[in-house]
Symmetry: C2
Subunit: 260 residues, 2 copies
Protein backbone atom coordinates (compact mmCIF):
# COMPACT_ATOMS: atom_id res chain seq x y z
CA UNK A 1 0.00 0.00 0.00
CA UNK A 2 1.53 3.30 -0.96
CA UNK A 3 0.95 6.65 0.70
CA UNK A 4 -1.80 7.38 -1.82
CA UNK A 5 -4.06 4.65 -0.42
CA UNK A 6 -4.07 6.05 3.10
CA UNK A 7 -6.73 8.47 4.28
CA UNK A 8 -5.00 11.88 4.47
CA UNK A 9 -5.81 12.34 8.16
CA UNK A 10 -4.15 9.00 8.97
CA UNK A 11 -0.93 9.68 7.16
CA UNK A 12 0.80 11.57 9.95
CA UNK A 13 -0.32 9.21 12.77
CA UNK A 14 0.74 6.18 10.74
CA UNK A 15 4.12 7.75 10.03
CA UNK A 16 4.54 8.33 13.79
CA UNK A 17 3.39 4.81 14.61
CA UNK A 18 5.90 3.28 12.20
CA UNK A 19 8.67 5.45 13.63
CA UNK A 20 7.84 4.22 17.13
CA UNK A 21 8.02 0.59 16.08
CA UNK A 22 11.05 1.07 13.86
CA UNK A 23 13.01 3.15 16.35
CA UNK A 24 12.43 0.64 19.17
CA UNK A 25 14.10 -2.01 17.07
CA UNK A 26 16.83 0.20 15.61
CA UNK A 27 17.98 1.36 19.03
CA UNK A 28 17.61 -2.03 20.70
CA UNK A 29 19.47 -3.59 17.78
CA UNK A 30 22.27 -1.09 18.21
CA UNK A 31 22.53 -1.87 21.93
CA UNK A 32 22.64 -5.59 21.15
CA UNK A 33 25.27 -5.03 18.49
CA UNK A 34 27.52 -3.53 21.15
CA UNK A 35 27.96 -7.10 22.37
CA UNK A 36 29.52 -8.14 19.05
CA UNK A 37 32.83 -9.68 19.95
CA UNK A 38 32.11 -9.19 23.65
CA UNK A 39 29.77 -12.05 24.50
CA UNK A 40 30.62 -14.22 27.51
CA UNK A 41 31.10 -17.28 25.26
CA UNK A 42 31.57 -17.60 21.49
CA UNK A 43 28.18 -19.20 21.04
CA UNK A 44 26.47 -16.35 22.85
CA UNK A 45 28.42 -13.81 20.85
CA UNK A 46 26.84 -15.30 17.76
CA UNK A 47 23.38 -15.47 19.32
CA UNK A 48 23.41 -11.83 20.45
CA UNK A 49 24.67 -10.71 17.06
CA UNK A 50 21.81 -12.63 15.45
CA UNK A 51 19.34 -10.87 17.72
CA UNK A 52 20.91 -7.54 16.77
CA UNK A 53 20.66 -8.39 13.09
CA UNK A 54 17.00 -9.33 13.40
CA UNK A 55 16.23 -6.06 15.16
CA UNK A 56 18.11 -3.91 12.68
CA UNK A 57 16.52 -5.77 9.79
CA UNK A 58 13.07 -5.21 11.28
CA UNK A 59 13.88 -1.53 11.84
CA UNK A 60 14.98 -1.25 8.24
CA UNK A 61 11.64 -2.43 6.80
CA UNK A 62 9.60 -0.44 9.32
CA UNK A 63 11.49 2.78 8.60
CA UNK A 64 11.30 2.16 4.89
CA UNK A 65 7.53 1.87 5.19
CA UNK A 66 7.53 5.02 7.34
CA UNK A 67 9.30 6.85 4.53
CA UNK A 68 6.76 5.57 2.01
CA UNK A 69 3.83 6.66 4.17
CA UNK A 70 5.38 10.06 4.76
CA UNK A 71 5.69 10.48 1.02
CA UNK A 72 8.56 12.97 1.06
CA UNK A 73 11.20 10.72 -0.40
CA UNK A 74 13.06 9.87 2.81
CA UNK A 75 14.65 6.42 2.78
CA UNK A 76 15.17 4.17 5.80
CA UNK A 77 18.78 5.36 5.87
CA UNK A 78 17.72 9.01 5.90
CA UNK A 79 15.44 8.23 8.83
CA UNK A 80 18.04 6.20 10.72
CA UNK A 81 21.00 8.46 10.19
CA UNK A 82 19.71 11.98 9.68
CA UNK A 83 17.29 12.53 12.52
CA UNK A 84 18.25 14.01 15.90
CA UNK A 85 17.34 12.54 19.28
CA UNK A 86 14.24 14.71 19.61
CA UNK A 87 12.83 13.11 16.45
CA UNK A 88 13.32 9.57 17.69
CA UNK A 89 10.26 7.76 19.03
CA UNK A 90 11.69 4.70 20.76
CA UNK A 91 10.94 3.59 24.31
CA UNK A 92 13.41 4.75 26.95
CA UNK A 93 13.76 1.07 27.88
CA UNK A 94 15.71 0.25 24.74
CA UNK A 95 18.10 3.20 24.83
CA UNK A 96 19.56 2.49 28.28
CA UNK A 97 23.23 1.43 28.05
CA UNK A 98 23.75 -2.28 27.51
CA UNK A 99 24.96 -2.88 31.07
CA UNK A 100 26.19 -6.34 31.96
CA UNK A 101 25.03 -9.53 30.31
CA UNK A 102 22.24 -9.99 32.84
CA UNK A 103 20.92 -6.50 32.18
CA UNK A 104 20.86 -7.15 28.43
CA UNK A 105 19.01 -10.42 28.96
CA UNK A 106 16.39 -8.97 31.31
CA UNK A 107 15.68 -6.05 28.97
CA UNK A 108 15.38 -8.42 26.03
CA UNK A 109 13.02 -10.68 27.94
CA UNK A 110 10.75 -7.80 29.05
CA UNK A 111 10.60 -6.32 25.56
CA UNK A 112 10.25 -9.63 23.71
CA UNK A 113 7.41 -10.72 25.98
CA UNK A 114 5.61 -7.47 25.24
CA UNK A 115 6.34 -7.89 21.52
CA UNK A 116 4.97 -11.41 21.60
CA UNK A 117 1.47 -10.22 22.50
CA UNK A 118 1.74 -7.02 20.50
CA UNK A 119 2.89 -8.60 17.24
CA UNK A 120 0.30 -11.33 17.54
CA UNK A 121 -2.39 -8.64 17.30
CA UNK A 122 -0.57 -6.45 14.81
CA UNK A 123 -0.77 -9.20 12.20
CA UNK A 124 -4.44 -8.26 11.84
CA UNK A 125 -3.65 -4.62 11.06
CA UNK A 126 -5.75 -3.08 8.29
CA UNK A 127 -2.56 -1.53 6.91
CA UNK A 128 -1.41 -4.56 4.93
CA UNK A 129 2.32 -3.79 4.75
CA UNK A 130 2.34 -3.48 8.54
CA UNK A 131 0.46 -6.76 8.97
CA UNK A 132 3.04 -8.46 6.77
CA UNK A 133 5.99 -7.02 8.67
CA UNK A 134 4.33 -8.09 11.93
CA UNK A 135 4.00 -11.69 10.75
CA UNK A 136 7.68 -11.97 9.87
CA UNK A 137 8.77 -10.13 13.01
CA UNK A 138 6.56 -12.32 15.21
CA UNK A 139 8.58 -15.40 14.23
CA UNK A 140 11.91 -13.75 14.88
CA UNK A 141 10.65 -12.37 18.16
CA UNK A 142 9.57 -15.82 19.28
CA UNK A 143 13.21 -16.87 19.11
CA UNK A 144 14.30 -13.75 21.01
CA UNK A 145 11.74 -14.50 23.69
CA UNK A 146 12.80 -18.12 24.10
CA UNK A 147 16.46 -17.25 24.09
CA UNK A 148 16.19 -14.48 26.68
CA UNK A 149 13.76 -16.47 28.85
CA UNK A 150 16.16 -19.40 28.90
CA UNK A 151 19.04 -17.19 30.05
CA UNK A 152 16.83 -15.42 32.56
CA UNK A 153 16.20 -18.75 34.26
CA UNK A 154 19.82 -19.90 33.99
CA UNK A 155 21.14 -16.68 35.52
CA UNK A 156 18.34 -16.16 38.02
CA UNK A 157 18.48 -19.72 39.27
CA UNK A 158 22.29 -19.82 38.92
CA UNK A 159 25.01 -18.69 41.27
CA UNK A 160 24.41 -16.23 44.08
CA UNK A 161 26.18 -13.54 42.06
CA UNK A 162 24.33 -14.12 38.81
CA UNK A 163 21.03 -14.18 40.72
CA UNK A 164 21.76 -10.87 42.41
CA UNK A 165 22.89 -9.19 39.20
CA UNK A 166 19.77 -10.20 37.35
CA UNK A 167 17.53 -9.17 40.23
CA UNK A 168 19.21 -5.74 40.27
CA UNK A 169 18.75 -5.39 36.52
CA UNK A 170 15.11 -6.33 36.85
CA UNK A 171 14.52 -3.79 39.62
CA UNK A 172 16.23 -1.07 37.60
CA UNK A 173 14.44 -1.86 34.34
CA UNK A 174 11.00 -2.21 35.90
CA UNK A 175 10.58 1.56 35.97
CA UNK A 176 10.79 1.59 32.17
CA UNK A 177 8.16 -1.06 31.47
CA UNK A 178 4.98 0.97 31.84
CA UNK A 179 5.96 3.03 28.79
CA UNK A 180 5.53 -0.05 26.60
CA UNK A 181 1.77 0.37 27.12
CA UNK A 182 1.73 4.13 26.44
CA UNK A 183 -1.05 5.25 24.10
CA UNK A 184 -2.08 8.67 22.83
CA UNK A 185 -3.99 10.25 19.95
CA UNK A 186 -1.67 8.53 17.45
CA UNK A 187 -2.89 5.13 18.62
CA UNK A 188 -6.49 6.26 18.91
CA UNK A 189 -6.70 7.58 15.37
CA UNK A 190 -5.20 4.39 14.00
CA UNK A 191 -7.20 2.04 16.23
CA UNK A 192 -10.39 3.53 14.85
CA UNK A 193 -9.18 2.57 11.39
CA UNK A 194 -8.21 -0.95 12.50
CA UNK A 195 -4.52 -0.24 11.94
CA UNK A 196 -3.07 0.00 15.47
CA UNK A 197 -3.23 -2.43 18.39
CA UNK A 198 -5.04 -1.55 21.63
CA UNK A 199 -2.27 -1.93 24.20
CA UNK A 200 -4.49 -1.81 27.26
CA UNK A 201 -5.57 -5.47 27.26
CA UNK A 202 -1.97 -6.63 26.67
CA UNK A 203 -0.78 -5.50 30.06
CA UNK A 204 -2.30 -8.31 32.08
CA UNK A 205 -1.12 -10.91 29.59
CA UNK A 206 2.38 -9.48 29.69
CA UNK A 207 2.48 -9.37 33.46
CA UNK A 208 1.23 -12.89 33.76
CA UNK A 209 3.89 -14.30 31.43
CA UNK A 210 6.60 -12.28 33.15
CA UNK A 211 5.46 -13.42 36.57
CA UNK A 212 5.62 -17.04 35.53
CA UNK A 213 9.16 -16.71 34.20
CA UNK A 214 10.38 -14.83 37.27
CA UNK A 215 9.01 -17.58 39.46
CA UNK A 216 10.91 -20.21 37.50
CA UNK A 217 14.02 -18.04 37.70
CA UNK A 218 13.56 -17.65 41.50
CA UNK A 219 13.41 -13.85 41.04
CA UNK A 220 11.19 -11.41 42.91
CA UNK A 221 8.63 -9.30 41.10
CA UNK A 222 9.79 -5.67 41.59
CA UNK A 223 7.85 -3.13 43.63
CA UNK A 224 4.77 -2.32 41.49
CA UNK A 225 4.79 1.27 42.76
CA UNK A 226 8.27 2.09 41.46
CA UNK A 227 8.48 5.41 39.58
CA UNK A 228 7.69 4.90 35.89
CA UNK A 229 9.77 6.91 33.42
CA UNK A 230 8.36 7.96 30.10
CA UNK A 231 8.85 10.43 27.27
CA UNK A 232 10.43 8.43 24.47
CA UNK A 233 7.25 8.17 22.42
CA UNK A 234 7.09 11.96 22.12
CA UNK A 235 10.81 12.66 21.73
CA UNK A 236 11.93 13.24 25.32
CA UNK A 237 14.90 10.96 25.76
CA UNK A 238 17.64 10.21 28.25
CA UNK A 239 21.15 11.50 27.59
CA UNK A 240 22.08 7.95 26.55
CA UNK A 241 20.26 8.21 23.22
CA UNK A 242 22.33 11.23 22.22
CA UNK A 243 25.56 9.34 22.79
CA UNK A 244 24.27 6.32 20.93
CA UNK A 245 23.18 8.40 17.93
CA UNK A 246 26.49 10.25 17.86
CA UNK A 247 28.24 6.92 17.45
CA UNK A 248 25.74 5.42 15.06
CA UNK A 249 25.43 8.42 12.79
CA UNK A 250 28.97 9.74 12.55
CA UNK A 251 29.94 7.88 9.39
CA UNK A 252 26.92 8.65 7.17
CA UNK A 253 26.84 12.24 8.42
CA UNK A 254 30.51 12.76 7.69
CA UNK A 255 30.08 11.58 4.11
CA UNK A 256 26.49 12.45 3.26
CA UNK A 257 27.10 12.31 -0.46
CA UNK A 258 29.29 9.26 -0.55
CA UNK A 259 28.15 6.75 -3.13
CA UNK A 260 28.49 3.65 -0.94
Amino acid sequence: MSAQNIAPELQQPLFEYLLRLGDDRLILGHRLSEWCGHGPILEEDIALANLALDCIGQASVLLKEAGTVEGQGRSEDDLAYFRDAIDFRNLLLVELPKGDFGFTIVRQFLFSTFSYFFLEKLQQSAHKPLAGIAAKTFKENLYHLRHSRKWLVVLGDGTEESHQRVQNALDELWGYTEEMFYMDQVDEALMNAGIAVDLQPLKEQWLSMVREALQEATLELPDPDVYQHQGGRTGFHTEHLGHLLAEMQILPRSYPDARW
Copy 2:
Protein backbone atom coordinates in the same frame (compact mmCIF):
# COMPACT_ATOMS: atom_id res chain seq x y z
CA MET B 1 38.12 -38.06 14.26
CA SER B 2 39.28 -37.77 17.86
CA ALA B 3 42.80 -37.17 19.05
CA GLN B 4 43.31 -40.92 19.39
CA ASN B 5 43.14 -41.47 15.63
CA ILE B 6 45.96 -39.06 14.81
CA ALA B 7 49.55 -40.24 14.55
CA PRO B 8 51.28 -38.93 17.69
CA GLU B 9 53.89 -36.95 15.73
CA LEU B 10 51.11 -35.13 13.85
CA GLN B 11 49.13 -34.09 16.91
CA GLN B 12 51.12 -30.94 17.67
CA PRO B 13 51.38 -29.73 14.04
CA LEU B 14 47.68 -30.32 13.50
CA PHE B 15 46.85 -28.42 16.67
CA GLU B 16 48.98 -25.53 15.38
CA TYR B 17 47.41 -25.69 11.94
CA LEU B 18 43.91 -25.54 13.38
CA LEU B 19 44.88 -22.59 15.57
CA ARG B 20 46.18 -20.74 12.53
CA LEU B 21 42.95 -21.24 10.63
CA GLY B 22 40.73 -20.62 13.63
CA ASP B 23 42.59 -17.53 14.82
CA ASP B 24 42.50 -15.93 11.35
CA ARG B 25 38.71 -16.13 11.44
CA LEU B 26 38.29 -15.23 15.08
CA ILE B 27 40.33 -12.05 14.76
CA LEU B 28 38.92 -11.08 11.37
CA GLY B 29 35.43 -11.73 12.72
CA HIS B 30 36.13 -9.49 15.66
CA ARG B 31 37.35 -6.70 13.38
CA LEU B 32 34.22 -7.07 11.24
CA SER B 33 32.03 -7.04 14.33
CA GLU B 34 33.43 -3.61 15.17
CA TRP B 35 31.27 -2.36 12.30
CA CYS B 36 28.09 -3.52 14.05
CA GLY B 37 25.89 -0.47 14.22
CA HIS B 38 28.46 1.57 12.29
CA GLY B 39 27.95 0.54 8.69
CA PRO B 40 27.54 3.29 6.10
CA ILE B 41 23.96 2.16 5.36
CA LEU B 42 21.57 -0.12 7.27
CA GLU B 43 21.78 -2.83 4.66
CA GLU B 44 25.57 -2.87 4.86
CA ASP B 45 25.46 -2.91 8.63
CA ILE B 46 23.55 -6.15 8.36
CA ALA B 47 25.84 -7.56 5.68
CA LEU B 48 29.02 -6.84 7.65
CA ALA B 49 27.49 -8.32 10.79
CA ASN B 50 26.64 -11.44 8.80
CA LEU B 51 30.23 -11.70 7.62
CA ALA B 52 31.38 -11.30 11.22
CA LEU B 53 29.00 -14.02 12.36
CA ASP B 54 30.22 -16.42 9.69
CA CYS B 55 33.84 -15.82 10.66
CA ILE B 56 33.22 -16.23 14.38
CA GLY B 57 31.15 -19.35 13.73
CA GLN B 58 33.96 -20.82 11.60
CA ALA B 59 36.49 -19.93 14.30
CA SER B 60 34.34 -21.65 16.86
CA VAL B 61 34.33 -25.02 15.08
CA LEU B 62 38.01 -24.79 14.14
CA LEU B 63 39.08 -23.99 17.70
CA LYS B 64 36.82 -26.70 19.06
CA GLU B 65 38.54 -29.19 16.77
CA ALA B 66 41.92 -27.78 17.87
CA GLY B 67 40.96 -28.50 21.48
CA THR B 68 39.94 -32.04 20.56
CA VAL B 69 43.21 -32.67 18.73
CA GLU B 70 45.24 -31.23 21.59
CA GLY B 71 43.48 -33.62 23.94
CA GLN B 72 43.93 -31.57 27.09
CA GLY B 73 40.32 -30.66 27.62
CA ARG B 74 40.47 -27.08 26.34
CA SER B 75 37.22 -25.86 24.78
CA GLU B 76 36.90 -23.35 21.95
CA ASP B 77 36.09 -20.73 24.59
CA ASP B 78 39.23 -21.56 26.57
CA LEU B 79 41.25 -21.14 23.39
CA ALA B 80 39.54 -17.90 22.35
CA TYR B 81 39.49 -16.19 25.71
CA PHE B 82 42.38 -17.56 27.75
CA ARG B 83 45.36 -17.32 25.44
CA ASP B 84 47.70 -14.34 25.27
CA ALA B 85 48.80 -12.60 22.08
CA ILE B 86 51.98 -14.65 21.82
CA ASP B 87 49.89 -17.83 21.58
CA PHE B 88 47.73 -16.52 18.75
CA ARG B 89 48.57 -17.76 15.26
CA ASN B 90 46.57 -15.45 12.98
CA LEU B 91 47.94 -13.49 10.03
CA LEU B 92 48.98 -9.91 10.76
CA LEU B 93 46.63 -8.93 7.92
CA VAL B 94 43.51 -9.69 9.93
CA GLU B 95 44.55 -7.97 13.16
CA LEU B 96 45.13 -4.52 11.66
CA PRO B 97 42.52 -1.99 12.93
CA LYS B 98 39.34 -1.94 10.90
CA GLY B 99 40.16 1.42 9.27
CA ASP B 100 37.54 3.01 7.07
CA PHE B 101 34.94 1.11 5.09
CA GLY B 102 37.23 0.87 2.06
CA PHE B 103 40.02 -0.63 4.16
CA THR B 104 37.67 -3.25 5.55
CA ILE B 105 36.45 -4.14 2.07
CA VAL B 106 39.93 -4.42 0.56
CA ARG B 107 41.16 -6.63 3.40
CA GLN B 108 38.10 -8.83 3.09
CA PHE B 109 38.58 -9.14 -0.64
CA LEU B 110 42.26 -10.07 -0.37
CA PHE B 111 41.62 -12.63 2.35
CA SER B 112 38.46 -14.10 0.82
CA THR B 113 40.18 -14.53 -2.54
CA PHE B 114 42.98 -16.42 -0.84
CA SER B 115 40.44 -18.48 1.12
CA TYR B 116 38.59 -19.33 -2.06
CA PHE B 117 41.55 -21.24 -3.47
CA PHE B 118 42.70 -22.51 -0.10
CA LEU B 119 39.35 -23.91 1.04
CA GLU B 120 38.77 -25.50 -2.34
CA LYS B 121 41.85 -27.66 -1.72
CA LEU B 122 41.29 -28.14 2.00
CA GLN B 123 38.07 -30.03 1.31
CA GLN B 124 40.29 -32.94 0.27
CA SER B 125 42.13 -33.01 3.59
CA ALA B 126 42.81 -36.47 4.99
CA HIS B 127 41.72 -35.18 8.39
CA LYS B 128 37.99 -35.66 7.87
CA PRO B 129 36.71 -33.11 10.40
CA LEU B 130 38.84 -30.48 8.72
CA ALA B 131 37.60 -31.44 5.25
CA GLY B 132 34.03 -31.09 6.51
CA ILE B 133 34.65 -27.69 8.04
CA ALA B 134 36.33 -26.58 4.80
CA ALA B 135 33.29 -27.56 2.73
CA LYS B 136 30.91 -25.53 4.87
CA THR B 137 33.32 -22.60 5.10
CA PHE B 138 33.91 -22.60 1.35
CA LYS B 139 30.25 -21.78 0.74
CA GLU B 140 30.20 -18.95 3.25
CA ASN B 141 33.46 -17.61 1.90
CA LEU B 142 32.05 -17.53 -1.60
CA TYR B 143 29.50 -15.01 -0.39
CA HIS B 144 32.20 -12.97 1.37
CA LEU B 145 34.24 -12.93 -1.81
CA ARG B 146 31.35 -11.81 -3.98
CA HIS B 147 30.25 -9.19 -1.51
CA SER B 148 33.70 -7.65 -1.04
CA ARG B 149 34.52 -7.84 -4.75
CA LYS B 150 31.29 -6.02 -5.59
CA TRP B 151 32.13 -3.20 -3.16
CA LEU B 152 35.73 -3.08 -4.35
CA VAL B 153 34.50 -2.27 -7.84
CA VAL B 154 31.83 0.17 -6.64
CA LEU B 155 34.31 2.10 -4.51
CA GLY B 156 37.30 1.81 -6.84
CA ASP B 157 35.31 2.85 -9.88
CA GLY B 158 33.25 5.35 -7.84
CA THR B 159 33.99 8.91 -6.83
CA GLU B 160 37.48 10.38 -6.84
CA GLU B 161 37.54 10.21 -3.06
CA SER B 162 36.33 6.62 -2.77
CA HIS B 163 38.82 5.58 -5.46
CA GLN B 164 41.72 7.20 -3.62
CA ARG B 165 40.75 5.74 -0.27
CA VAL B 166 40.54 2.23 -1.64
CA GLN B 167 43.83 2.61 -3.51
CA ASN B 168 45.51 3.76 -0.29
CA ALA B 169 44.06 0.81 1.61
CA LEU B 170 45.27 -1.55 -1.07
CA ASP B 171 48.78 -0.12 -0.99
CA GLU B 172 48.90 -0.36 2.78
CA LEU B 173 47.51 -3.89 2.96
CA TRP B 174 49.67 -5.26 0.19
CA GLY B 175 52.63 -5.60 2.54
CA TYR B 176 50.61 -8.09 4.59
CA THR B 177 49.58 -10.41 1.76
CA GLU B 178 52.74 -12.49 1.37
CA GLU B 179 52.19 -13.96 4.83
CA MET B 180 49.06 -15.72 3.60
CA PHE B 181 51.39 -18.06 1.71
CA TYR B 182 53.76 -18.65 4.63
CA MET B 183 54.67 -22.30 5.18
CA ASP B 184 56.97 -23.99 7.67
CA GLN B 185 57.52 -27.42 9.26
CA VAL B 186 53.92 -27.45 10.50
CA ASP B 187 52.66 -27.43 6.93
CA GLU B 188 55.32 -29.84 5.72
CA ALA B 189 54.57 -32.50 8.31
CA LEU B 190 50.86 -32.28 7.57
CA MET B 191 51.25 -32.12 3.78
CA ASN B 192 53.13 -35.42 3.86
CA ALA B 193 50.08 -36.92 5.57
CA GLY B 194 47.67 -35.37 3.08
CA ILE B 195 46.15 -33.13 5.73
CA ALA B 196 47.45 -29.64 4.85
CA VAL B 197 47.27 -27.67 1.61
CA ASP B 198 50.40 -26.73 -0.33
CA LEU B 199 50.14 -22.94 -0.50
CA GLN B 200 52.85 -22.42 -3.10
CA PRO B 201 50.72 -23.09 -6.20
CA LEU B 202 47.90 -20.91 -4.87
CA LYS B 203 49.88 -17.73 -5.18
CA GLU B 204 49.60 -17.34 -8.93
CA GLN B 205 45.91 -18.18 -8.88
CA TRP B 206 45.32 -15.63 -6.14
CA LEU B 207 47.30 -12.92 -7.92
CA SER B 208 45.52 -13.54 -11.16
CA MET B 209 42.06 -13.22 -9.60
CA VAL B 210 43.11 -10.12 -7.67
CA ARG B 211 44.58 -8.52 -10.79
CA GLU B 212 41.37 -9.06 -12.69
CA ALA B 213 39.25 -7.45 -9.98
CA LEU B 214 41.61 -4.47 -9.62
CA GLN B 215 41.39 -3.88 -13.32
CA GLU B 216 37.61 -3.81 -13.20
CA ALA B 217 37.80 -1.48 -10.20
CA THR B 218 40.25 0.82 -12.08
CA LEU B 219 42.80 0.31 -9.28
CA GLU B 220 46.57 -0.04 -9.64
CA LEU B 221 48.36 -3.21 -8.58
CA PRO B 222 50.67 -2.11 -5.73
CA ASP B 223 54.45 -2.16 -5.97
CA PRO B 224 55.40 -5.87 -5.88
CA ASP B 225 58.62 -5.06 -4.03
CA VAL B 226 56.90 -3.48 -1.05
CA TYR B 227 58.23 -4.70 2.32
CA GLN B 228 56.36 -7.82 3.43
CA HIS B 229 55.55 -8.11 7.14
CA GLN B 230 55.26 -11.44 8.83
CA GLY B 231 55.37 -13.11 12.23
CA GLY B 232 51.74 -13.86 13.05
CA ARG B 233 52.02 -17.57 12.29
CA THR B 234 54.65 -17.96 14.98
CA GLY B 235 53.20 -15.60 17.59
CA PHE B 236 54.93 -12.31 16.73
CA HIS B 237 52.11 -9.82 16.45
CA THR B 238 51.57 -6.09 16.06
CA GLU B 239 50.51 -4.07 19.09
CA HIS B 240 46.99 -4.04 17.63
CA LEU B 241 46.33 -7.65 18.54
CA GLY B 242 47.02 -6.94 22.22
CA HIS B 243 44.43 -4.17 22.28
CA LEU B 244 41.91 -6.31 20.46
CA LEU B 245 42.38 -9.22 22.86
CA ALA B 246 42.13 -6.95 25.88
CA GLU B 247 38.71 -5.91 24.67
CA MET B 248 37.58 -9.33 23.56
CA GLN B 249 38.72 -11.21 26.63
CA ILE B 250 37.87 -8.85 29.47
CA LEU B 251 34.46 -10.29 30.27
CA PRO B 252 35.29 -14.02 30.38
CA ARG B 253 38.56 -13.32 32.20
CA SER B 254 36.83 -11.18 34.80
CA TYR B 255 34.36 -13.94 35.58
CA PRO B 256 36.24 -17.14 34.75
CA ASP B 257 33.93 -19.30 36.85
CA ALA B 258 30.66 -17.70 35.92
CA ARG B 259 28.07 -20.27 34.91
CA TRP B 260 26.80 -18.42 31.86
